[in-house]
Symmetry: C2
Subunit: 146 residues, 2 copies
């Protein structure tokens, strides 16, 4: 079964918050986990629509916010003005390479960069809560055409 652990986490979250477990929420979580990538609300809504036309945009929107609260998803912005959500993995943080040409998004992580960030913030007397590092690139495929 796909990600039964995450599903459990979400159910627990709903319980502790006094919220209800509904069919829509289950469907949305399943599709969200299946899709994997960096989805906008619109993307997910359209995917769900195909399988079950009875799901509304507002519900998808609200459920994604619940995912974020629950800690199983994170909201991100890559500069195209649309919010995207990705399944969050609290053990390993990662940053993004975004192709300016085709929009492809690749994840990466580099502990040396992370350490330097902490150092820099510390020099200013600040403590890092979170950070975002986006590298806007031409991917290997797109840079051929340039």
């Amino acid at each position: 079964m796909v990600n039964s652990k995450t599903k459990g986490k979400f159910k627990d979250f709903l319980l502790t918050q006094g919220l209800k477990s509904t069919n829509q929420r289950e469907l949305i979580l399943e599709e969200f986990l299946r899709a994997g990538a960096h989805l906008s609300t619109e993307d997910l809504y359209l995917r769900l629509r195909k399988k079950n036309p009875r799901i509304g945009y507002a519900t998808v929107h609200r459920t994604l916010k619940l995912f974020a609260q629950c800690g199983i998803a994170e909201q991100r912005h890559f500069g195209d003005g649309q919010a995207r959500y990705e399944a969050s993995d609290h053990d390993e943080h990662h940053d993004h390479l975004i192709c300016i040409s085709c929009g492809k998004i690749v994840e990466f992580e580099d502990s040396r960069i992370e350490e330097l960030q902490i150092e820099v913030a510390g020099e200013h007397g600040f403590s890092i809560e979170r950070h975002r590092l986006d590298l806007y690139v031409y991917c290997s495929h797109c840079s051929i055409q340039t």
Copy 2:
């Protein structure tokens, strides 16, 4: 005189693009340079309004886009859903520390981080066009209260 070099660059840009030099554009550029910080369209519009009520929001918006095209300003997003513009300095790139609590923005640069970014992108066969590194922190003042 404040930033006559930048003003010249903008005039040249207008000329080469077949655009016209207008009073509004001059006023907007002057106020933009004077203000310095990370301004939203709204911010700049309000500042201009005080001195000259005859300037429209649309013109400020369009002029800021011209600045970005011309290379004398850069558009940024810090997650509050509003675009901000800052005067760009092509010689020295910098990143941002943003206080989650009070919204204060501090600039910094660290060449070691920059180098590692190039290295990481290279490992994936990508070439960096630009990047964004935002560190969301509690600044020294705000972290006292936490």
